[in-house]
């Protein structure tokens, strides 16, 4: 590859052709402020914070300006500083600056930038925007008064997820991020994946906060409050308390939750194991009986809603299994209640998920309120702080039993390819009578958006695929539709990288996202837990074995179906006119 010699503020660096000035500056350890830029997701040069002098007639946006041989860049001059500052003052003049009560207080890229550029005055202040807050959706709240129109959310929604629920509308000073006919996000084809939240630099998009409902339930002496935490929560929540990205903090997390007043602290991973038993059986049955293939996983509620809007022709391919969150709720309010003589109507199930779509899922009528409240990793962190619990010094603790027992297979649900791997571990065992050589599963590990493998199982070639990110899901489904690909089993996760990068996970600022792959780091935490686990296959989970023996009979039984399976509904792809 051709190397180019460029000079950034007098520092010489060599960069490959195609490198932006921003990336070259990083090599020279020169810090250029950015706001709209988000690597690989939003590279549009819109916010003008990264303007630099490249010797031409106009200042250029470093994030999109390509290096050329001999390029000399000045990133720091009185003129550049003043122009950046004036631009930031303008942005602030059109921003609801109620920082103290903002959901992103102290975790706001705009706030950080204002401090960094030493803005102490808004000389061109304007009238408040006075725009309505859209809080009708079960999952997502949008507050355009805070929006700085960086377009990261619209980029990820349109280009990465290919959902297209939100886009830039109107023009000039009236420009807003909005939906078809300016409807509520609840009334359009939004799948609630929450990726927009994760990329928002400010508090313009955030999860519907349900923490008060949880506190209220805990306060209520009549309620038996059970909490479950999803695999990815433990891989991410540490970041909220200053741990490096990818630090597994299961023990600390359980310890902290136990101080909050729940009656039981359980592990969603147990339900993940149950999902594998049901879904694995479903796969085997479909293959044996000539059922609808490929079978497609159904754990990701963002993906489910996407399928319902965009690919209703694949609804019969979806596994009928409920997601682990919902299996857990159903289990608690039936089997667990019965065994422990608790009135199911008094049980209040709280789920902690890395996910905003789980809020919508728990509210679906097909789910019978088995989960009362679903909160995100961020909300749990907020509750822990609110309760005055010092997370870092909390003594590590273990999940309560019996629903605290889980296998490594359940843990890796949080990473793309994890559900597939967990299912194959068990399916292979059922058919072959021995454990699979893990090497065979390596092609479906990693953060690649689309991963494929062909496995020899019981003399048959089983073609599998794992896709994460809905844009990749669209690609895969189109290939299946066109007959280009012939899979038996597909895992689809709505969020790029899977649940570890879910829309409910701690928000990582662009300054870090632009440097490291948070998906890979968090996934590592899960695979390390898997490696350490006593049991690594869902079929080995003692609780699951007991559950079938005592209650449901066998995977796929009538009772199991009644409790653990669901159905889907076709939704409009193109919204009808109001």
């Amino acid at each position: 590859m051709n190397l180019l010699n460029v000079t950034i503020d007098g520092i010489k660096v060599q960069v490959p052709e195609g490198t932006s000035v921003l990336d070259a500056a990083k090599l020279a350890n020169v810090d250029i402020p950015t706001l709209c830029y988000l690597k690989d997701i939003n590279e549009i040069g819109a916010c003008r914070m990264c303007l630099v002098d490249v010797g031409g007639r106009a200042l250029q946006a470093a994030c999109v300006y390509p290096c050329s041989e001999g390029l000399k860049v000045i990133t720091n001059s009185p003129k550049i500083r003043d122009i950046r500052k004036a631009t930031l003052e303008l942005i602030l003049s059109h921003h609801d600056r109620s920082c103290l009560t903002c959901i992103r207080n102290q975790n706001c890229e705009l706030q950080a930038l204002a401090d960094k550029l030493n803005v102490r005055d808004i000389p061109f202040d304007g009238a408040p925007k006075g725009l309505p807050i859209d809080n009708i959706s079960k999952s997502i709240v949008r507050d355009n008064n805070k929006c700085v129109l960086c377009r990261r959310c619209t980029s990820i929604c349109n280009n990465i997820q290919t959902v297209g629920a939100i886009n830039v509308m109107e023009r000039g000073y009236e420009t807003v991020v909005s939906t078809t006919d300016h409807r509520s996000i609840a009334d359009v084809n939004c799948v609630n994946c929450g990726q927009c939240i994760n990329v928002c630099p400010v508090g313009a998009i955030y999860e519907k906060d349900n923490t008060q409902a949880v506190w209220d339930a805990i306060k209520d002496p009549d309620k038996y409050v059970v909490i479950q935490t999803a695999p990815s929560v433990r891989a991410g929540i540490g970041e909220e308390f200053g741990y490096p990205i990818g630090t597994p903090v299961t023990g600390k997390m359980v310890g902290a939750i136990k101080k909050m007043g729940f009656d039981k602290v359980f592990d969603t991973d147990t339900a993940a194991d149950l999902t594998i038993m049901e879904e694995g059986t479903e796969l085997l049955t479909r293959i044996k009986t000539g059922g609808k293939l490929p079978l497609i996983t159904s754990c990701s509620p963002g993906w489910i809603k996407f399928c319902e809007h965009e690919f209703p022709e694949f609804l019969d391919n979806l596994s009928t299994c409920k997601s682990p969150q919902q299996m857990f709720g159903a289990l608690i309010k039936s089997y667990y209640a019965e065994k422990n003589n608790i009135d199911p109507s008094k049980i209040f199930v709280v789920a902690v998920m890395p996910c905003t779509a789980k809020k919508f899922e728990s509210d679906r009528e097909e789910m019978f309120n088995d989960v009362d409240v679903s909160i995100t990793s961020r909300e749990l962190a907020r509750m822990i702080r609110e309760a005055g619990i010092d997370f870092r010094s909390v003594e590590e603790a273990q999940f309560d039993n019996p629903l605290g027992e889980a296998t490594g297979a359940g843990v890796i649900f949080g990473a793309t390819g994890g559900v597939m791997e967990a299912a194959l571990r068990t399916v292979y065992y059922i058919l072959e009578g021995k454990r699979i050589n893990e090497e065979a599963l390596m092609p479906i590990r990693g953060t690649e958006g689309i991963k494929e493998a062909t496995l020899k199982v019981a003399g048959m070639d089983v073609n599998v695929c794992a896709a994460s990110g809905l844009g990749n899901a669209r690609k895969v489904l189109n290939m299946v539709k066109n007959g280009e690909k012939n899979y038996h089993f597909i895992e689809i996760m709505a969020c790029p990288g899977g649940c570890v990068n879910g829309g409910g996970q701690p928000i990582v600022p662009a300054s870090i996202r632009n440097k490291i792959d948070i998906r890979a780091e968090r996934a590592k935490a899960l695979y390390s837990e898997d490696k350490r686990a006593t049991y690594r296959n869902s079929d080995e989970n003692p609780f699951i074995q007991k559950f079938y023996k005592e209650y449901a009979g066998e995977p796929g039984s009538h009772k199991a179906h009644e409790l653990l399976h669901t159905h889907y509904q076709k939704r409009e792809k193109h919204l009808k006119n109001k």
């Binding site: 122009i83 303008l90 061109f124 000073y173 420009t175």
Partner: protein
């Protein structure tokens, strides 16, 4: 069309020359002024009187808006008569007296600034000072008839290029001609083509920017409506030069007549094989499609225009990559403005040297201006580069109405700046206009007189860009709005010390930081009025007065006690009951009640009421 010989045959085809050819100017301006009923009436009477020796045709705009509808009569002897402000009644007279009786209706003929009427437009002073290259066919040929274009050398440049020249030679000829883009920035056209020709790609595109959007500008519309084939021909030439087989014309949907005539022209050109496959029997093929703009000014910016053609929200994108390498659909693309294209066939036919002799050292050829505002001869003119603003305003434009004093002229539309009286003798070309803080722009020229408030003018132009900002970058989206708020404050009499400095800082920041040309030039009207008329700003801010008497909030109406005879007419007409007094002694105005409507001043027969 298989060869040049075929084209020549069409040109030379002898058609029977009628005794009289009557043409009606039917561009949008003519139609708006009432050309349709005139045309119908002429036809009706000609039919009724069974006049077989008369041919009645339509044509484009000749450029004198204030005199529309215009009907011209050409005799077999080669005489030309220009009738102005024609209505159905005058049309009857023209047929009866001129055609049937052979006596021209001298009363309806065009006059030269209050002098005796003369025969035709070409003899007017203002026309004699012009050189018509881009507008050569406007108002002269029937734009809906391809044969008329061919008879005026149409498509011969394309024929010459395809059969006699290599692509590189075409580009060299353009480079030699010195033609610069007429859309505003003045980039050398040949250079633009050279870059696109050098780009390696199977697919390239030629785009025509017909999204004319400056307030008061209608140069491109006139060409599209009056001479659409010249654009098609030039685009095909561009296609050959850069190696493209597909062109797009991005034309604003608010130009329905232009759209109709372009569509018709494309159809006719295809029927003649002048567009399509193997043009002139060569292996060059070229097709053109229209794309209609939906009324966004920013879509005149090249990258926004291409984004819009791609079917996306019309917003600019950063350059580089430049369109010559990565333009429409990511392919090498050239984009030229209508007027630029209109020049090209003539340059090819007459040569670079011929073109080179017109204009100034760095600005060759002519420029079309749409002249409007406080000027007698509003309309469309085409002048050689280098003419002074004084010549344009006083000789071609006929000066300022009502004997008022010239104050400034705005060129370059909302992106340009104002030129004050001290620069009336600057020769108009790209570089001179930039040097005095304005720009050539696409050709809008708005004249202001002593009654215009320059702060108000800056407010007007800035208001336009604020409305038209796409909203992508904060400097333009928020910055221009903040500037507008400040101007509103100043014109409302609420200006404060340091407002001028704030305005200047903001203006320079926006100029430097905005993403595209629209934003980068948006502060220009403010900067140029600040440059030449800072005293007016200061008067608004510090003295709380509007020297031109425009800004309502800074005005007060007063009664001169010496002139007032106490008739009470003003008080009876005041809608706010703000005037009181006793008959036969001077009246007074209660300033708290006065709504500054000016009715009293209009009604007073003694000039006793004045505003200050």
């Amino acid at each position: 069309m298989k060869s040049l010989t075929e084209l020549k045959a069409i040109k030379q085809k002898v058609t029977e020359v009628p005794d009289y050819k009557i043409v009606v100017g039917m561009a949008t301006c003519g139609i708006a002024a009432g050309a349709n009923p005139v045309f119908k009436e002429l036809k009706r009477i000609a039919d009724e009187k069974k006049l077989s020796n008369v041919d009645i045709q339509i044509t484009g705009c000749i450029g004198i808006c204030r005199l529309e509808p215009i009907v011209e009569v050409y005799t077999a002897k080669g005489e030309r008569y220009t009738y102005v402000k024609v209505d159905a009644e005058k049309a009857q007279d023209i047929i009866q007296k001129h055609i049937i009786e052979g006596k021209p209706c001298t009363d309806y003929l065009i006059c030269d600034d209050g002098e005796a009427c003369i025969k035709n437009i070409q003899e007017t002073k203002s026309f004699k000072k012009q050189i018509r290259i881009a507008l050569r066919n406007c108002g002269n040929i029937n734009p809906e008839n391809i044969d008329e274009y061919i008879k005026n050398d149409g498509y011969f440049a394309l024929g010459k290029v395809l059969t006699e020249m290599k692509p590189a030679e075409v580009i060299q000829l353009l480079l030699d001609s010195g033609l610069r883009g007429r859309g505003g920035a003045g980039f050398p056209t040949g250079l633009k083509w050279k870059f696109a020709a050098a780009a390696q790609n199977e697919q390239k595109y030629v785009c025509c920017n017909a999204d004319e959007g400056d307030p008061g500008a209608f140069m491109d519309r006139s060409v599209l409506e009056g001479d659409p084939h010249s654009i098609l021909e030039a685009m095909a030439i561009a296609g050959y030069a850069i190696g493209s087989d597909q062109g797009f014309i991005y034309v604003r949907a608010e130009y329905p007549v232009a759209v109709k005539r372009l569509n018709l022209a494309i159809k006719q050109a295809k029927e003649y094989g002048l567009l399509g496959n193997n043009i002139f029997g060569t292996d060059f093929s070229f097709d053109i499609e229209l794309r209609l703009g939906a009324g966004a000014f920013v879509c005149g910016e090249e990258t926004a225009l291409m984004t819009s053609i791609e079917g996306k929200r019309g917003e600019p994108r950063p350059r580089p990559p430049f369109p010559a390498n990565k333009g429409l659909f990511g392919k090498p693309t050239i984009l030229n403005n209508v007027e630029t294209f209109a020049n090209i066939p003539v340059i090819i036919n007459k040569g670079a040297d011929w073109f080179n002799k017109i204009g100034t050292e760095k600005s060759k050829g002519t420029k079309v201006f749409a002249v409007g505002g406080k000027i007698n001869n509003t309309g469309l003119i085409e002048i050689p580069m280098g003419m002074t603003l004084r010549e344009v305003i006083y000789e071609i434009g006929g000066g300022i109405p009502n004997g008022k004093a010239f104050k400034a002229a705005q060129t370059g539309g909302p992106s340009g700046g104002c030129i004050p009286a001290e620069h009336l003798d600057v020769a108009i070309d790209y570089d001179n206009l930039i040097a005095i803080g304005s720009m050539m722009g696409s050709g809008g020229l708005i004249v202001m007189d002593e009654d215009n408030c320059m702060v108000d003018i800056a407010h007007f132009f800035l208001g336009f860009t604020v409305d038209e900002s796409c909203g992508k970058c904060p400097p333009c989206r928020i910055g221009t709005h903040r500037m507008l708020e400040m101007l509103e404050k100043i014109t409302a009499g609420k200006g404060e010390d340091k407002d001028i400095e704030k305005l200047e800082r903001l203006a320079y920041s926006i100029k430097e930081a905005a993403l595209c040309g629209l934003g980068q030039t948006a502060p220009n009207p403010v900067l140029s009025t600040l440059r030449y008329f800072k005293d007016e700003y200061k008067a608004h801010i510090y003295q709380k007065t509007c020297p031109a008497g425009v800004c309502k909030n800074l005005l007060s109406y007063n009664i001169d006690a010496e002139k007032c005879i106490g008739c009470g007419l003003c008080a009876r007409n005041c809608p706010a009951n703000a005037i009181t007094g006793v008959v036969k002694s001077p009246y007074t105005i209660d300033k708290d009640k006065c709504i500054k409507c000016g009715v009293c001043m209009e009604k007073c027969k003694f000039g006793a009421i004045y505003k200050k």
